[in-house]
Symmetry: C2
Subunit: 202 residues, 2 copies
DNA sequence: TGCATCACTTACCGAGTGGTAAGTCGTTGG
DNA sequence: CCAACGACTTACCACTCGGTAAGTGATGCA
């Protein structure tokens, strides 16, 4: 007998996984609510529409990523160390919860692929992107470089981190679970290498 | 009055763009066929089901990527030059036709997100992945490294290349078209830098 | 000429979609 | 004690989905 607040949290959690694994169009309200033994209308009671449910999921994700970023900001002094810390934390988090990274990728790709007017007003991930770009521009290697270069680098590193965890299922079915497990053990180091190589002058 | 073969080609082309922009679930047969002034059943006449249409699109994409890879193999001798050539060609192609790269990402992410049994028998992109991994393992820096490291590197570089072109729409709406255009002009160089830094020992 | 095949069309179908309306039941506050 | 509210449910709606059945008109071949 969960409390209403807990029910909402549960719905948000299940919706997040469904949206990450199957995308916006592949996710049905009935499937999400049904996984908790509720009806679709219970979900619509907590989140007034599918679009608002998606927005809530994305906002939660954005807040968590921002928290991760702030934690890394406090952990180090130098911009490149802060970036390295953030990307490492993101990788660890992403290996444990691939859904989070899938959502990031999907949200970036699904622009104008969802509703006709879905949320062009506010974008939770913007609050993550902007300080990230600023941080890259604060790096010795990239200071003086333009916004475009920094955005380019940010997109490259984010992508490099997000794809493999999101693609584990597909890769496992083609190359075998053993191979994927092996990648999992080296992926964090690989990512840290890539980040270091890209952020410090060679 | 297009010939039947041309009609099929047109359907394949439109379907490819729809699938890339909106994903499998976001693509409807009626929308694809309607864009050519045909009915949904005309499409089902050429491709017996939605799954087979998707398979045909993916197979075409896989063949094109493979062709790109082979062209790069013939253009150079050293493995790292061949890889650099392929990734550069892929980036150029992707900036011109973002749909192609979106499809690669989507196909990697959408495992078990489509039909219940959708095409686990054959996978066109495997023919691209495998020589790519072998090529990475043939590189001085990565020779001796395991399959897992090479797969990890392949996934990172593929992702770094595929994301930005696929996310241009979303990024443009948040950071402005001008910023995105600016990234487009530097993205190829940025990608070549990343590939070089990652493939040659530092 | 006759007949088959191709490339479609119109007409459906059942299942599933997001969403609305109205009602039920338990809790809470005045 | 009772009205109001929150957290749901059942019932229903209009619509879209992928897919089937049955035709239609043109083309090609015997």
């Amino acid at each position: 007998m969960p409390s209403p607040a807990q029910t909402r949290k549960n719905l948000l959690f299940v919706a997040r996984n469904h949206l990450a694994e199957r995308g916006y169009h592949g996710t049905s309200l009935a499937a999400v609510s049904g996984e908790l033994g509720l009806t679709k209308q219970a979900l619509l009671h907590h989140f007034k529409s599918k679009d608002l449910l998606y927005a809530a999921v994305l906002e939660q994700l954005g807040a968590e990523l921002l928290e991760l970023l702030f934690a890394s900001l406090e952990a180090s002094e130098l911009a490149e160390d802060q970036l390295a810390g953030f990307f490492a934390a993101l990788t660890r988090q992403g290996l444990a919860q691939p859904a989070d990274l899938s959502l990031v990728l999907r949200d970036l790709m699904d622009f104008q692929g969802r509703g006709p007017d879905s949320g062009q007003d506010s974008w939770p991930l913007q609050n993550v992107f902007e300080p990230l770009i600023a941080l890259i521009q604060a790096t010795p290697r990239w200071q003086g470089a333009g916004f475009a270069e920094a955005l380019s680098v940010a997109s490259q590193m984010l992508a490099a981190i997000c794809l493999f965890p999101s693609a584990q299922g597909a890769l496992a079915s083609r190359f075998g679970q053993a191979a994927v497990d092996q990648v999992r053990t080296t992926f964090l180091v690989q990512t840290q290498d890539l980040v270091r190589e890209r952020l410090t002058r060679d």
